[in-house]
């Protein structure tokens, strides 16, 4: 998610994790849960973002972002930790309706929309928490690696 974030040559590497562990501060974690619950409030047997337990997965996502994107995201999460919930809702609503605005404002809101979705929706719908969301929506795609490995061994005999 970048408009201007890849490192210039000679600078720290683009797209590879930084040396230091990358994680969220407690405030940023709180902001992620609050933002996540606006985007994914839960619906029947589908848990909310915070209930799903997927937020911890952000540690697997952050290290691979470009530094500028990561920095923008962390700023947004810090803001979400402090803002009243209606204000967070307003941010998400404006971002989701980006194309109703004239350019270049629309581009800024599209960037925000994809950034928010890229984190919140990816974490939740990757089903890395305890919510079992894939089961609820019927996603059961698999690759039977065991059968393939067995077939390979059979061929080698």
């Amino acid at each position: 998610m970048s408009t201007d974030s890849q490192t210039p040559s000679g600078m720290p590497r683009a797209g590879l994790p930084a040396e230091a562990p990358v994680g969220l501060t407690p405030a940023q974690q709180r902001g992620l849960l609050r933002l996540g619950d606006v985007v994914i409030p839960g619906d029947g047997d589908l848990p909310s973002f915070s209930e799903s337990g997927c937020a911890d997965g952000i540690d697997r996502m952050l290290p691979y972002m470009y530094e500028a994107d990561r920095s923008s995201l962390l700023t947004l999460l810090e803001a979400c930790a402090r803002l009243p919930r209606p204000a967070i809702r307003r941010i998400v609503a404006i971002a989701a309706a980006a194309d109703r605005f004239p350019e270049p404002a629309a581009g800024v809101f599209r960037l925000a929309n994809i950034g928010i979705k890229g984190v919140v929706q990816s974490l939740y719908w990757s089903d890395i928490g305890t919510g079992g969301v894939h089961l609820v929506i019927g996603h059961d795609a698999t690759i039977n690696e065991a059968a393939y490995e067995a077939a390979l061994k059979e061929t080698e005999r």
């Binding site: 998610m1 970048s2 408009t3 201007d4 974030s5 890849q6 490192t7 210039p8 040559s9 600078m11 590497r13 683009a14 797209g15 590879l16 994790p17 930084a18 040396e19 985007v39 994914i40 409030p41 839960g42 619906d43 589908l46 997965g57 697997r60 996502m61 290290p63 691979y64 470009y66 994107d69 609503a93 989701a96 980006a98 350019e103 270049p104 581009g107 800024v108 599209r110 994809i114 979705k117 890229g118 929706q121 990816s122 939740y124 719908w125 990757s126 890395i128 894939h134 609820v136 929506i137 019927g138 059961d140 795609a141 698999t142 690759i143 039977n144 690696e145 059968a147 393939y148 077939a151």
Partner: protein
């Protein structure tokens, strides 16, 4: 999530400067051949006539490229999905085309044995094929190259290239994920750039070639793709079995500048594409297993530009103009007809455009003011730096590029070997 984060630049996607398109640019050894859906079509005369007209390069013609296409096809196992394994999404696609009088055809895929009887779902292979069926370069070309002495260095990011008389110097950062990397320099008699449209353009721009190659980074195309969904009462199970089976083969669609394919994606990607948020979005996602999905792939006419910002950062400028938007609209209208004729209760248009056929930036051509690479696949003004991938495309072909990249690479290898003698 992990495959998206780790296999693509930017931790999943990079955005164009106006955030109109999400660019999917693989950073894995083997590039697009690892993560694509391995669709292998030759370019038609429409595409190649445009290529030839834009470039002035005579061999960009069906007859002249035929031997290279044949060799490229001979290096791969090519199959159509067996009829008995085609899934519900394919049935909707085929049925909708027939009811609307549109022409369609089975896709030809580079795959050896997807072992569908084991219950495999190719949607998993968007993160790389785990049963070695997909004919990626990791399966086909690289093992042969290694037998001939290739040494592969992975986890290297090259950021400078410089031609010095009788050799070329390349500099970059080496190191595994989790480290900043250490700088290293390599020297070679020749260098063949194969970093794709963005990678090649960025490297050459960062190395100062923009001044003498005015076309560098220009004429960038992506075939903007938009996935649209039909919601059906009965489960479709679009995620099961082979992910893609059919493509449009309608001359009218070709004339209008778009093609359609049946396609799908995992829940995280579908959630990205679904418009809205909150409970309304969740209720739509609850219908995931009831989605039919067809994507419109636009043959884009408005070229983009890859350039570096003041701090050296990558900027991807790419806008859909009125013509490109009209092409998207025409494709979306055809998809609506397909879904509604098959009984969809709702049609949803995805609200994020995707660019994953990344082409141009180092266009091939005879005119150094309008192209970057000459007909001998060598940079204008250079004798030792070559390019042989989709970065040399002078236009958007409107057809999946993988097979033509392979064919042109074979042609390039002859040319480069000849120059080296």
């Amino acid at each position: 999530m992990d495959s998206s984060s780790q296999l693509y630049w930017g931790g999943g996607v990079e955005l164009t400067t106006n955030a109109e398109l999400a660019i999917l640019r693989p950073k894995v050894v083997g590039g697009g051949s690892i993560v694509n859906q391995a669709l292998m079509d030759r370019f038609d005369d429409v595409a190649l006539d445009d290529f030839r007209s834009a470039s002035g390069v005579d061999f960009l013609a069906s007859d002249a490229l035929a031997p290279y296409y044949e060799r490229a096809e001979g290096n791969l196992v090519l199959q159509e999905v067996p009829e008995q394994h085609r899934n519900g999404n394919a049935a909707i696609f085929a049925g909708g085309f027939e009811r609307n009088g549109y022409r369609y055809a089975p896709l030809r895929r580079a795959q050896a044995d997807c072992r569908f009887d084991d219950g495999n779902s190719c949607i998993e292979c968007l993160g790389g094929c785990r049963v070695d069926s997909k004919q990626s370069t990791a399966i086909t070309a690289l093992p042969i190259a290694e037998q001939h002495g290739l040494t592969l260095l992975d986890q290297v990011e090259v950021d400078q290239i410089e031609e010095r008389g009788d050799h070329v110097v390349v500099r970059g950062l080496v190191g595994p994920p989790g480290h900043q990397g250490r700088r290293q320099e390599w020297s070679a008699q020749r260098v063949v750039l194969a970093g794709g449209a963005i990678g090649n353009s960025r490297l050459l721009l960062a190395s100062g070639y923009g001044g003498r190659l005015p076309a560098l980074g220009r004429n960038f195309f992506t075939h903007p793709q938009f996935m649209n969904f039909g919601v059906f009462d009965e489960p479709v199970h679009a995620h099961r079995g082979p992910l893609q089976n059919y493509k449009s083969a309608d001359p009218g669609f070709r004339r209008q500048g778009f093609k359609l394919e049946n396609v799908f994606a995992g829940p995280a990607s579908i959630a990205m594409l679904m418009p809205g948020y909150g409970r309304a979005h969740m209720r739509r996602m609850r219908d995931y297993d009831h989605f039919g999905c067809v994507e419109v792939c636009v043959r884009d006419t408005n070229p983009g530009r890859i350039r570096l910002g003041r701090k050296g950062q990558l900027l991807i400028e790419k806008r859909m103009d009125a013509v490109d938007r009209q092409r998207r609209r025409a494709g979306a209208d055809a998809i609506r007809n397909i879904f509604l004729s098959m009984g969809a209760r709702e049609v949803i248009e995805g609200d994020v455009g995707i660019g994953l056929h990344l082409m141009g930036g180092c266009a091939i051509g005879t005119d150094p003011t309008r192209s970057v690479v000459g007909p001998d696949f060598t940079l204008h003004g250079s004798s030792r730096i070559h390019a042989a991938d989709s970065s040399i495309f002078p236009k958007a072909p409107g057809i999946n590029p993988a097979l033509t990249i392979a064919a042109l690479s074979l042609k390039a290898s002859e040319s480069i070997l000849e120059a080296a003698r």
